[in-house]
Each structure stands twice: as C-alpha cells, then as structure tokens.
Symmetry: C2
Subunit: 703 residues, 2 copies
C-alpha cells in the first residue's frame, strides 16, 4: 500500500516565528545575496521573498526524493518565475540533491561551461521538470503536468494501487498572471477541475517597472474564483510557514478544484531595497550584502554561510525520499502481480516506449483520388492514435477542420461535466478540446510531454497560421527536446476565402530556422504518412506537419513515404533536363503541371520533392548533390511562401512577396502566379534570362 | 457646440417585439443565409444571431457617417469575431455606405478581385477600422482605439470643445474571451478605466467543436468585474433591441469603467441548425435556406430580399451622419479660432504629419566609447519622443532595460490612480506600462495606430526574444500597413547569463520573411540613428529595431546613418580582398576583428555592413552588385542567428545551428565560435577548402 500523506509528512511546522524556521530563512536569504554578489548579477529579490514558501514546500509538503530525482510518482514542481532560479537551486542544495553542491551553487552567473545553475532552470538538470523563463509558460506547463497525472491515474490506477497520484506545485510571480498564456492555462485548469494542481503566487506587487498597480489593478482572487479555483490567502508569505503548509495541505485535499495560494511577500526582504523594483534583477553591492547579513543577524564578513543546524533541519528529507521510492517500488511490484497486463503497458510507457507495432497501424495505401492532406493526415494517424494510449490528441477548437477524431475517441474532461452539446468525457479520455487557446495548447502539451519523456506524445492541431500564436511554446518544446507533434492545416494561400489573415507567408521561415524542430510539408497522402512516421520516430524534438485545406492530386508513382526522412528526393527524374523544379507540399501540383507545359515547349524539367529542409541537411554531401544536381542545372523552387532560406537549394523562386488575398483557393493561387501556364512562362523566361546574361545564374531570382 | 447624445439619437426603440424591428431582423437573417449559400460557404450563424445587436448599434447607438466613413470623431467599431464579417458588410449596406451596394455584398466568397467583402474585414475598405480574423486581436485593437481617444481628448479637448470624444464599440464571440491576447487586453482596459469602450459579447455558447462548456466553464461576468469592468446582462440578445440600446447608452454614460454587454444569443437563429456548431462555418444548403425563410415568414423563392421598408428604417442614418460631420466641421473651425496653436497641431496630426523638424532632434553625434545599441537607441530617439506628441511609447515591463524614458516623461494612466511606487500619470501621458503582456502591447498599439493613420506612431519595447509572443500582432500590423515601431533589445546570445530561453536564434528569420516589415539591426550608434530615421519615415509599415544588451565598439570612420536606408553598404573597402565579410548588428565587431587577424595571416577581407535585408532588396541591381561583388569574391556572413536567408547574399555563414547557452555574454559568443581568432580560422579554412574543391564555392557552407 502507498503511504498516506500523514505518514509521509509526520512533522508539522509549529507556531509562526519558530526559531529554526527563522534561522533557516535568515541563512537562506543571505546565501542568495552572496550568490548574486559574486559575479555582480542575477535575480536576488524574488528568491529571498519566497524563502518561506520554499521551506513549506520542500520540507513539509512535496513528495520527492533527492537520491532519485526522477522517481515516477514524485510531485512535480515548476518555477514559472524562472528568473528566481536561485530559489530552486539553493533549496536543491539544502535538501540534498547530490549534484547541487555548494561549489555548483556558486557557478551561478559564472563562466563555468558545465554549470547546473544557468540563469533560468533547464530541464536537462536533475530536479528540474521544465525549462522556464519565458513568462506565463511555466504555469501552462504545470497545467500539462497535472493533466498527465490525471490521465495516467484514470488509466492505470486501480483500487488499492494509486500508481500515479502526484501533485503539481507551481510557483508564479505577477507576470504569469499578466501574460495571456498564463491566463489561458488558468482558465483551462479551472475547467478541467485539476485538483492536483496548486499555484503559489509570490505576490510581492513589484515588477521591473515599479509597483504592479502601474499596470494591473484587478481583483486577482475574484478572478481566480471566477475561473474555478480555490483561493487561499496568506497574509505573511515571508514568514508564516505554518499557514503556507496548511494551505498546501488543503490544496492536496481539494477534490474538485485547483488551488491558488496568494502569498503576500516582500521582494528582497531584509535588504536595503526591500519592496522595491531595484531588488528584482541586480546584485546588492558589497555594502548591500553586508547590510542584508546584519539585518538578518549574521556575520557580515562570512560569505556563503550555511551552518550545520540548517543542513540538519533538512536532513530528514533524503531519508523520507528513500522511503518514498522504495514504497513506490513495492507498490509497482504488487501492482504487476495484481494487474500484469496493465502493469506491462504502464511500465512500457514509463520507459518511454511505444508498442512495437505502431507503424503497422498506418495504412499501407490511400485512396487514389484528390485528397486534402489534412484528410490524409487523419487517415494515416487516427488508427495509431486509436490504439496507442501514449497519444493524447487535441485541437484548438477546430475538430471539424483538422480531422483528428478517431472512431470512439473519448474526451479528456471531468467525468461529472455534462455539456450542452452532449459530448462528455472522463479523465481517461485522450482527446482534448483546448478551446481557442493555441498558445496554451502548445505550452500545456509541453508540460504533458515533460511529465516523463515518451510516456505521452501530445499531438496538437490548428490552422498553420495560428501556430504563430503558439510559436513561443513550440520553441520551448524544441529547446527542451520534448516530442510534441503539431498538426498544422490550411497551410497556404490555397486556404482561400478566409483571406490574408489566415494565409501564412512568413511563418515557415521561423520554423525552418528553429533549431531542433522538424517542419514537414508533405505533397500527398503517401508523404503525409511518411511525415507521421518521421514525427513519431523523432523522440527528442517537436515536429510540425504542415497540411493543406484543399484537395491535392495523389502522386503514387512518384511520391514515397519512406523518402520523407531524407528531407528531399527525386520525384521525377529526367536525364534531358534543362532545369530542376523543386515542388513542396500542396504546391507540388504546380511543379508537375508546370513541367508538363514546359515539355510541350521543348523545355525538359526534373522534379524534386522537398518536404523537410532540416532532414535534408542531415544527409551526406553526396546524397545532397545527387538530388540537387547543382550547379549543373539551375533550380527553381515553387512554394507559396516567402522564399527565405530556399536560396540554399535553388537559384530562383516562384513564391510570395506579399501577404495573400481573400479568393477561392485556386483563384488565390492563380492571382499570385501559381498556375501551370504562368509557372511555365516564368521558368521559360528565367532560363532565357540566365542564358542571355550568365551573371544572373548565381544571383537568386524572385520570379 | 457639439450635439448631445440625446440630440444625435432622438429616436429610441420601443417595446420588445416591435414590428419593424422584427421585420428587419427577419429580412437581415434571410439575407445572410442567401449570401452564404450563393457560393456555398462562409459564416452565417454568428451574423444571424447578432442581428439585434447590429440594429441597436448602427441605428440607435453609434456615431458615424456613411457619407464620410473616416470622419475623425466617429465612434469606432471593431468586429473582433471577424469571421462574422457579413454582419458588418450587411449593415453597411443597409445604413447606406455608398461602396457597399447589394451587388458588392454578393461578391462575398466570389472570385471577384476587387470585392469589398473579403472573408474577414480588411482595413483598406470604407468603414472598416481594423482587419480582424486572428481571434483575440480585435478586442485588443479596440482597447488601442479607446486609448487613442483618451489620449487625444486629454491633449486637445478644451472646455466647450470636445474635439475628440468618440466611443469604441467592439463585438466579440467566445473566442476573444479564451485567447490570451484578449484576456491581456481586457485586463489593461479595466486598469486604464477606459469608460469609452464597450464590448458586446455574442454569447451563443457555441464554437466549432460544440458547446463552449466543452472547454470553458468559468463565470465570465465575475471575471470581467474582477478585471474592473461594468457588466450588463442581456437575456434575449436575439430580439431585445430596447434592452441592448439601453445597455449601450449606459456604456456611453460610464465614467470610470469599460462596459461588457453580455448578450445571450442563438447562433444561426431561425435555421434548422440554430444553436448548433453546424451553424458556424458552412452554408445551410438550398433546403436549409428555404427553411430559414419560411421560419422567418418570408417567401422561400425570393433571394436577397430587401424591401423598401427595411431601407426606410435605416434612411435617417445618412442624414444624421451628415449632421454629425457638419457639426464637427463647425466645432473644429470654432476650436481653431479659440485655440489656434493647439488646433494647428491637432490638424497636423489629423493629417498624419510630423513636425518638419523631427529628424533634427536626433543628435548629430554620439559618444565614441563602447555603447550598447539599446543605449544608443535611447540617445537617438528619446529627444524626438520628448518633443513630438505623435509618439506614444511603451514597454512590456522593461523600463530599466530598454532605455525609452525621456526626461519628464508622463505615464498614460488614470489621473486618480495613486500607485504604490509613486509613479503617477494622466490620460495625456505618452508612456505606457504595458505590464508583462507583449502580445497585447503590440496588438493594442496596432489599434492606436489605426485610430487615424499617422496621428499616433506607437513605439513598443521589450527583449527581442519576447517579440515571439508579440509576433501575431506584429504580423497584423504589417498586413494592415500600420506604422508601429518595435524596439527589440537583448537581441543575441550576447545577452548572456539569462541563457537560451532569452537568446533569439530563429526569430529574425520570421521577421525577415514577413512582408511589409523592416527588421533593422544596427551595428553601432550611428546606424542606430539611421535605423530610427528609416523607421520613422516608413509611414505604411511597422519596423523592428534590433538592439544589443551589451556594449558595442563604435565605428564612426566606417558606419553611416544615412546608408542604413540602403539596407547594406560597404563598411570597409579593400581592393586586394580575398573575401567579403558581412557584419551584422552587434556581431560587426567579429567581422572587423576577424578581418584584422586574417590580415596578419596575409588574407585580405572587405567588410559589408548589412542592417536590413528588406531595404537592400529595394535597391537597384547595380547597387547590389557593387556591394556584394559576387561572384568575384566569396562572402561569409557573421551573425549569431540561424543563417536562413543569408544564402541570398553570402556563400558561407558563421552562425548558430543550435539554441544558445547561459554564460556571460562574451563567453557565450566565444562558446559558439564568435571570437576573432576562431572567426579568422574558420574563414581561412573555408577559403582553402573552396580553393581545393571549387565545387564547394556555390554550395552554401555553415562554418
């Protein structure tokens, strides 16, 4: 049996002002001041103000194990105000994480290349659940971690076997309540009734510009209640550990709501600049640090002072953590005996593995009729999603458009929620209605993926254009090497009547430039299947699969799902070619049709399909040359986006120089020159021009 | 004297169910059904459900003039749920906008190239204040329009001369209450006490996926009240015109809060699919349209039926509008006599003009010591901002970092707000603390700019990395040709310790690819001054000025402010050059220092400064060739970003292939190879490699 919360945390803090607490708080705050002073930089104020919250959390409230930072059922902690990272690093030191020695702690802001103490917490390091810093996203990640717990619990827990029942704790500052993504995530958490989520608000009412009321005067408690949260006020967040611990216990006991613990604190408490924006992002200076120590009754001449009494105070935590992990091992082993099949799947997912047969679930063939690649995507992936519990699929309110619903899909929603439209769900559901919240969709999905790498593969979906809303989170997924698959439909001017607001032109350049991300743009159903295979195999990076709204011709004699992984391949060879045409995604039809018109005019073209630049860059030089045949042949890329970046592979572009236009899809294409005769005219003129003036050959031309 | 509201709107709607209202509603709803059916597409449901709100607004509440759609003191209307554009187009027809004939109305979703009825409202067209469609942004634009009114009123109104006193009306659907940018804007509007803003919520509880409670179950009225809004409930938003008009009148009377009018409506009311998501984004089919007409008591065989009684109902509006504009002309002329100087400035701003001397306010020279370009930016621009009322400058809570504060700046804030930090303001202030809300900062700024082109030039500021949060609004500014200047500091890995979360790598590719936007990256103070000149002169496009956190060497012998407008220019010529080095922004130092090391090794380099690709593309071929000297010389670009797009101008790149790293700025640079000796080594090796294997010469190399 799993131990009760009372068994895990037998010791409770006593009265406010308790001697040892006061001592630990004082030592901690002076340590933070020293750590910022040594390289004259960093963020001291928040960490100092939050010290009592830290003691309440790590000492009295959080299930974790310093000796096994990644034990599966640990409580998750997210520092959404990531600039206060010294808060987390210093507690990690005090509670006994092995890697976080005092020497390590001192590498903060140093030139040390292998520091565990970067300027914001980074997921690669022990005890760090997600990389934070870009404000508002950490709280969204925390919502994802809490969803992951809920979903796993509903799937795998059985009577007497709570194999997943962890809490998620999230620390935020004022910024996370101002950033839109934080507000989206808060709304979602309330809706989903995530009772396993607690947010501690470091309410110091100070940001860089001054006091928060310069820019925000709302009633935050009322707002959180309106969003479906419990609210607990802590009047003295700097010192009242007993109250904070009681609030955290109450949060853990909540049955139907996430909990917002509003802790009034003082930024840089005990320093000369306490309560002032100056305490936020700068060291205090030598004199200021001495004053901090004197104000706290410590010797101003001693730096990095951590007496044994402080270590002793935290010394039970490693023991407690060892108990937690050994109890959990026992629980898992009893669970394996009681539920062998369920346990096997759970173990496989804990190990980040998919069933061996996953790729066989993708259909071997597709209808040979014009098909929108958003439809192909559903045909390719939905059978996989249906069978494999690792996939948790959602949409930013575009279910009818993105084709991500498999037969029998169940929504992730509170089981007692009875919707007006009659679509109900439960916490075991794997289809998420994110609402019209693209940014949170991606940021929360990062959190789900970060619960334990590979346990979930979140899949998001929306129109490609609105992945510009989600971009900051897609980026954070790439930075953190989190596998999240983004299904981006309506990916061109072919989207049509919705017009330029909905037609992406520049966005692909962002995603092609972004490190550790695959932007894949298949041209037909076969390539769409290939894109899915690549994306599912890419364990340590997000992917964007870019799909058409409109029907596309199928090229089953030319396209090849297994060549998508090469990034580009010869689609149609032609030994007599005068020119190479590069076709991309939905615009492949213009390359193929244009080549036919050119052939009628005696101009021979070979065609390359180029679904993914990043994958192509990974190939050998020989392979690349065999595909591009450059400089022997001039190459023209045909894609209805900004050509930025195609200059690497082509000599000229038929692309977009302006925003799009509201017209029926094929009319929009034609308006901008994407039509077989217009294409052929441009290529023919281009070939003549470089013949007449060879100096143009190596200057990229926008046709 | 300006007429009172009672004088403008003498007629009030009578009891609910009033015959003519019912008739107009029925005709209107059938018209919408017809307009979607003709090309079998579009969004009928919202427009039909909102019909009573439309009558309340255009007939009874809004100050506007169909004969003079851009009269300066008109009420602004924003359709934030832009997909319901037929709502606006159809009312524009009925109230008598000349361009919006019935024939024009029928071009919705047609192949007509010159349609005034694109799939979402577009700012180019009469009566459309902002382009909407990307959800959540319209309401943020509306907040900007309301801020513009407040600021102009505080600046130019005098006792008896309310030369600016218009309302802003904004229509939203459920999405704008889910999107983070909408929530940011709502928070700001409450904080700023924008009593001149009213939001009508088309509360039909339906989105694409089904009923809203699938994804949102918060108490929206409580949430709005917590954010500082008045809330008025309308139980029957489909029919109760009297109640809606009364609410709108109350909104106009509000003295200290924006007003949220929560109108319960039924999507697609009167159709077979009323109240269902199916009514949202598809035509009803021939049979469905017939049923709509029969349900509304109209002849199912008649299409586009608009009887004279309906036109008659709206026939007073043109007359009323003519009175409004002639009264306003009179008011302005009396104002000119009473306040000649103020009136002259106001007129100049109404005409979108800056004082002729603006560029002389930029200092003629700068300190010749290492200076961060974020500091140079303040030196260059703040004297301009100080003197010229057209500039309204803000920051997403980075005042201490972005250097945008001029001596004596006054905050834009409610005059009765007494902040804890003691920084107070008034509505005449021109410095806006946006809070940590980058997206709203940019979207609201678009609204300010859209109030009347050129009357304001909004300037935003934040770290460059966080312009990824603002990207969807920066894009909408570019699409709408709105002049907003974005000051983006900390623009490289040189930002240092904050680490990879704060170090942009891919983002420049987005902005370089984006149509109608200038992304300018100056290398020193002179070029920073040049960047400001270009940005201020670019009347019909936004600019991003990309600036360093760290100190940069000044190159006053080489850099040239007036050449920034050329996009690129020769920084250091060398007739014996073996290679061209392209230096960009803060990385110019590595080009210059690298060239010195190369020279010691007998390798001669010439150097190009390349602050803006878009501006360079505008130059003549001859000019471009004179700068690039390609293919005579190989060119290496040195920039700590993804090289995507530089392939057009260079043969090789010293750039970034991964995300950054938390290290002190210069250590981060060195870690990634940006250091003079490492640069020289790479260039030398490259030159050897292309000599040994000339085939490499035209294959872009990442060094």
């Amino acid at each position: 049996m799993a131990p009760s919360v009372q068994e895990i945390f037998p010791v409770k803090p006593t009265a406010k002002g308790d001697d040892i607490h006061s001592y630990v708080l004082r030592v901690f705050r002076c340590l933070i001041a020293d750590l910022c002073q040594q390289y004259n930089g960093g963020h001291p104020g928040g960490a100092m103000g939050m010290a009592a919250i830290g003691i309440s959390l790590w000492k009295y409230s959080m299930k974790f194990s310093p000796n096994d930072p990644s034990y599966f059922n640990r409580d998750r902690f997210v520092l959404s105000n990531g600039h206060t990272c010294l808060f987390q690093y210093s507690f990690h030191h005090l509670v006994g994480y092995k890697h976080m020695t005092l020497e390590q702690l001192k590498t903060y802001h140093s030139r040390e290349l292998d520091s565990f103490c970067p300027g914001h917490p980074e997921i690669e390091h022990p005890g760090i659940e997600v990389t934070t810093g870009p404000l508002g996203q950490g709280i969204a990640n925390a919502v994802g971690l809490a969803i992951a717990t809920k979903q796993l619990a509903a799937t795998y827990n059985r009577e007497g076997f709570p194999v997943v029942n962890n809490m998620t704790w999230c620390m935020i500052g004022d910024a996370c309540l101002q950033e839109g993504v934080g507000l989206e995530a808060i709304s979602l958490a309330g809706h989903f009734q995530l009772n396993n989520l607690a947010v501690m608000y470091d309410n110091n009412q100070i940001t860089c510009d001054g006091s928060v009321d310069l820019t925000n005067t709302e009633n935050i408690n009322d707002k959180m209640r309106a969003c479906g949260w419990n609210v607990i006020d802590i009047e003295d967040g700097c010192y009242d550990i007993a109250a904070i611990v009681a609030a955290m216990a109450k949060a853990r006991e909540s049955t139907d709501k996430p909990t917002f613990i509003n802790c009034r604190t003082i930024i840089g408490v005990g320093s000369d600049v306490q309560g002032d924006a100056k305490a936020h992002g700068a060291a205090f200076g030598e004199k200021g640090v001495r004053n901090v120590k004197m104000a706290n009754g410590l010797d101003p001449d001693i730096k990095f002072f951590i007496p044994d009494a402080v270590y002793d105070f935290f010394s039970d935590i490693r023991v407690r953590g060892d108990h937690l992990t050994s109890d959990y091992t026992t629980l898992l082993s009893e669970y394996a005996q009681a539920y062998p099949e369920l346990s096997a799947e759970f173990e496989s997912r804990r190990n980040g593995l998919l069933p061996a047969n996953w790729s066989s679930l993708i259909p071997a063939s597709f209808p040979n009729e014009p098909t929108a690649s958003r439809k192909s995507s559903g045909l390719a992936f939905n059978p996989v999603a249906k069978e494999i519990n690792s996939f948790i699929v959602g949409t930013a309110d575009l279910s009818p458009s993105v084709n991500m619903i498999w037969p029998g899909k169940v929504d992730f929603n509170p089981p007692d929620l009875q919707t007006v439209c009659g679509i109900n769900g439960n916490y075991g559901g794997r289809y998420i209605h994110w609402g019209i919240r693209e940014f949170a969709m991606a940021a929360v999905s990062n959190g789900i993926a970060a619960f334990n790498k590979g346990t979930f593969i979140p899949v998001t979906s929306s129109f490609f254009m609105f992945y510009i809303y989600a971009a900051p989170a897609v980026r954070m997924g790439a930075l953190q090497e989190l596998q999240v698959i983004h299904v981006a439909t309506h990916d061109s001017i072919g989207t049509g009547e919705d017009g330029p607001t909905h037609q992406p032109i520049a966005l692909p350049a962002l995603y092609r430039a972004m490190p550790n991300l695959l932007y894949i743009r298949p041209c037909d159903s076969e390539e769409t299947a290939g894109a899915w295979k690549v994306a599912i195999e890419a364990k340590n990076m997000p992917s964007i699969i870019s799909l058409s709204r409109q029907n596309l011709p199928q090229y089953f004699d030319n396209s090849c799902r297994d060549k998508v992984r090469l990034g580009a391949y010869v689609f149609k060879e032609n030994s007599a070619a005068h020119v190479t045409l590069i076709g991309v995604g939905p615009e492949m039809r213009f390359a193929v049709e244009g080549a036919e018109v050119l052939a009628q005019r005696g101009i021979e073209a070979r065609i390359i399909s180029f679904p993914c630049q990043r994958l192509f860059e990974l190939q050998t030089r020989d392979y690349k040359r065999s595909i591009l045949k450059c400089p022997e042949l001039p190459a023209v890329v045909i894609e209805a986006f900004s050509p930025l970046g195609w200059e690497r592979y082509a000599n000229a572009s038929i692309g977009m120089k302006t925003f799009g236009k509201s017209l029926p899809g094929m009319d929009a294409y034609k308006y901008f020159g994407f039509e077989k005769t217009l294409i052929a005219d441009k290529v023919e003129t281009y070939l003549k021009s470089i013949k007449a003036d060879p100096s143009l050959r190596y200057e990229f031309q926008d046709l």
